[in-house]
Symmetry: C2
Subunit: 198 residues, 2 copies
Amino acid sequence: MTGAEPSLRERRRAETTTAVARAALDLALADGWDAVTVDDVAARAGISRRTFFNYFATKDEALFHNALPWRPEVLEEFQRSTGPLLDGLEALFTAQAEQEAPDRDRALQVMGLVDAAPELLPGLLARIAASEAVLAEAVRAREGVDEFTAQAIAAVAGALARVGGMSWLSGLQPDPLTSTRAAWAVLRALTTTPGSDR
Amino acid sequence: MTGAEPSLRERRRAETTTAVARAALDLALADGWDAVTVDDVAARAGISRRTFFNYFATKDEALFHNALPWRPEVLEEFQRSTGPLLDGLEALFTAQAEQEAPDRDRALQVMGLVDAAPELLPGLLARIAASEAVLAEAVRAREGVDEFTAQAIAAVAGALARVGGMSWLSGLQPDPLTSTRAAWAVLRALTTTPGSDR
């Protein structure tokens, strides 16, 4: 895993899906998701309707495509690392949080969007599950553990990310990096209490 | 916290809400949630429409009232216990799993119901959040930790419960008790790897 450069084709594909996801979110925030059509999203992203359907089956799929994406270089670094798993996971989530260039207002707007249009929830939950599955697969590959173990570890990490993220969004923590570190510190304290391992 | 007996009034109230939640679920499984009215639920539970609204504001609220309930005696035992938090939490989730008299077919039917009627998701997610908040409050009271710490611990425990539950429902584990133990064993292994604490 020395991180071969993605091909031009792969890079263009990634650029297009990112642009489409961004266009979908912008339109949803401006007009409400009900009022947005696939044609609107395609037009704003500068592609044809036909091209849109080469990338996504539905407008909901486009909206959440960029939700919770793993940065490839950050995920690769995790898989290459060889220290204790807990350290590797914390480094992974810390690097994600650092590189996010967090836009708190936008994140809050997205939350408001889903609150106002709960029919978006299944799509968002599917993205969260997909993101957790990618992490579980990375854990399984790095550690050689079984699928259940990998899923449980990914779920625990996801829970910490969620609580950390909400703490930042609610204003309790100044930025995603601080909240990520605080969440992982809780896990370490929970499990290193004297006598807590049997 | 020596567990004072609930009053007759409290017991009757709990019996009624349980009966209503059960009636709502039975009707939803039989007819589809769309077709079920508040009147149907009230009739099946043997109460008047007016009494229904003394307990619940909507039919969705009734449906999920009994989802993920903490058994009072199990929660009290957790709060009374004084050992390491991790042991206390595992004992809490183990006792819940043991006392559940698990009905796998019914649990799978409920999952199918939510799949078929995704408009139920917000209500279900609200119940999950409420259940996690109850646990966080119990952790905060037992340990004297701050709210963020308690929330992170409750979220981690909830993640383990979810992965364990899915593993049982998908047939990988024979019963909720085995899957609960397996999930907690993953957390202990994750955090007791030599060198994983800094």
